[in-house]
């Protein structure tokens, strides 16, 4: 049965209270026994003193021939008998019925004998030794009882102390066990939340959202809340992606209109000029006009081709590749260009890098795009740093492309991955980085940019290490969008 934390706390509190009550009862009983024993000792002590008085009178009578002493002895004896009878129940319950009977019989005998001696003073010498012997027996009996009771009290006190220590120890142990049980249970359950929260923070909402959860206590409810939140976030993320798609479609269309508008205008202008100035144009000029028109048509074709590249639902050809080799292959294609542009290459490839499961031509295309951008950012020449390393935080490979060029202004930095966003004027289509971004995203990776105007730009690509995944036996993966 799974209990809630509240129920567990209540049970723990009740069991603790019961334990404390038991200890209190035990201490109370111990004290009662001790008090009762002390009272017995008091009674016996009183009786003992009375017996000693009797013995003194006995001595006076026999040794000093004090005739009045025997009467005194009888009074004392009767008082003693009365005293013992008054405390009969107490004595018999504490010392046993037999001891009581013994005491009573002996005192009775003593008093009877004293009465007899008083009535027949002449026979006294015959009885003297028997009488004194009985007196002696009484003295010894009381002394023995007193000693025994004192021993008993000591024993009870010792036993009480020991038991108290043991019980306190048990209580402590119980507390410890309880605390361990509680902390383990609660911490264990809290620990189950940790990976869930980590997944949410990494944006892996789906894994959290699909986990089946039946809450059985407060922590279970908290876990369920996290799972619900992840589900909601997943839904919202989907909506956001959809609206982003629509927004980028808008950007795309306005980009297309603008990009195609210019060459179209050029062709139109040339055709109009050609027609209106036809008679004034020489043969060479007419040829130039037609050549320019062809160039402009080519420009339109190129834009359309890039656009197609951008939107085509291409299939990825995923295979295992060495990240260092990907970088080398891509660099070999631009190395001459780099030399001409007076750009010096600094390449660092970490050893023993994990292999990547990627579409090599696509990744190479991204890298080449970054190199070309970097070279164009350094018209006066400069340094190009290409670094390949393992991501210390994640199971991923990092490829960093850094230039010492003019940098990108902070205000346009957020737009550089937008389709048709270009800083190169008529030289660029504004699709390079946008296409690169799409390719890296399709590999479940990420591409980020940092730039400082006048100091240079760094592009960082993070590609996750993963093997061939289930359902991809043909080494292909469909683009998701």
């Amino acid at each position: 049965m799974m209990l809630t934390i509240r129920q567990r706390t209540i049970i723990a509190a009740i069991s603790q209270a019961v334990l404390i009550c038991i200890i209190c009862a035990f201490v109370y009983l111990s004290f009662r026994t001790i008090i009762s024993k002390l009272r017995t000792i008091e009674i016996i002590d009183d009786l003992n003193i009375a017996v000693l008085e009797m013995r003194k009178a006995e001595k006076n009578y026999f040794l000093y021939k004090d005739a009045g002493a025997i009467a005194e002895l009888i009074v004392l004896g009767q008082e003693e008998l009365q005293g013992i009878q008054e405390e009969k129940s107490y004595i018999s319950s504490n010392l046993g019925q037999k001891t009581y009977n013994d005491l009573e019989t002996k005192i009775k005998q003593y008093v009877e004998m004293a009465n007899f001696i008083k009535g027949n003073p002449k026979v006294a010498p015959d009885l003297e030794s028997r009488f004194r012997d009985l007196g002696h027996q009484l003295t010894t009996l009381f002394a023995l009882l007193l000693k025994q009771e004192r021993k008993n009290v000591n024993h009870i006190i010792m036993l009480g102390v020991v038991t108290l220590i043991v019980v306190l120890g048990l209580l402590l142990l119980f507390q410890l066990v309880l605390w361990r049980y509680f902390s383990r249970l609660i911490i264990q359950e809290l620990a189950t939340m940790e990976p869930l929260i980590a997944k949410v923070s990494e944006g892996r909402f789906h894994e959290v959202a699909v986990a089946p959860i039946t809450p059985h206590n407060e922590i279970g409810i908290a876990i369920k809340a996290i799972s619900d939140m992840a589900r909601e976030l997943e839904k919202r993320e989907g909506q956001l992606l959809q609206s982003e798609k629509l927004a980028s479609l808008g950007v795309l269309i306005s980009g297309v209109v603008h990009e195609l508008g210019n060459p179209l205008n050029n062709i139109s202008l040339m055709a109009q000029t050609y027609l209106s100035l036809y008679d004034m144009l020489g043969d060479e000029e007419k040829k130039n006009f037609m050549g320019d028109i062809l160039n402009q048509s080519e420009r339109i074709r190129k834009i359309m081709h890039n656009l197609l590249d951008f939107s085509r639902q291409k299939k990825q050809e995923l295979e295992e590749h060495d990240p260092g080799k990907l970088v080398d292959t891509s660099l070999s294609l631009v190395i001459n260009h780099m030399k001409l542009a007076n750009v010096e290459l600094h390449k660092t490839i970490a050893p023993d890098l994990p292999r990547l499961y990627v579409d090599a031509p696509q990744i190479e295309q991204v890298l080449i795009n970054l190199y070309v951008n970097a070279i164009q950012a350094m018209p006066e020449g400069g340094d190009l740093y290409v670094e390949v390393d393992r991501d210390p935080d994640r199971d991923a490979v990092i490829i960093r492309v850094r230039d010492t060029g003019h940098g990108i202004p902070q205000d346009i930095l957020p737009n550089i991955f937008d389709p048709f966003f270009s800083t190169k004027g008529t030289k660029g289509t504004g699709l390079g980085l946008s296409v690169s971004y799409g390719i890296i995203r399709q590999h479940d990776g990420e591409i980020t940019v940092e730039s400082q105007e006048g100091q240079g730009t760094t592009f960082t690509i993070r590609l996750p290490c993963r093997g061939k995944q289930e359902g991809e036996t043909d080494g292909q993966r469909n683009h998701r969008d």
Partner: protein
Amino acid sequence: MAKEIIVIDDEKIVCNMCQKVLEAEGYQVETFTDSVQALDRIREKRFDVVVTDLKMEKVSGMDILREVNERYPDTKVIMLTAYATLDAAIEAIREKIFDFFPKPVKIEDLKRSIKKALQS
């Protein structure tokens, strides 16, 4: 004396074609594909008509328009644009513009507009 016209557009072909057509009409034409250089030229010399593209790198058509209006209140500015948004048109009208042509531009319209600009 021939009327002087400056044409500014980062498309070289636009500049070339305008130059050919307008020179054939008897105007004196200067063209610039770099709007920064064009702005410098405007600062040192007054033109009768300025024909400029709206969307250009560094210095935009609106910047040229403002500069011209400030320096030479009677110089007319004609704006060309690849895609005319309502916002751009409204802003241009506020800044006192003579004419506004969406691309592709009809050369006859442009010629007529320039003629009108020079007459008024």
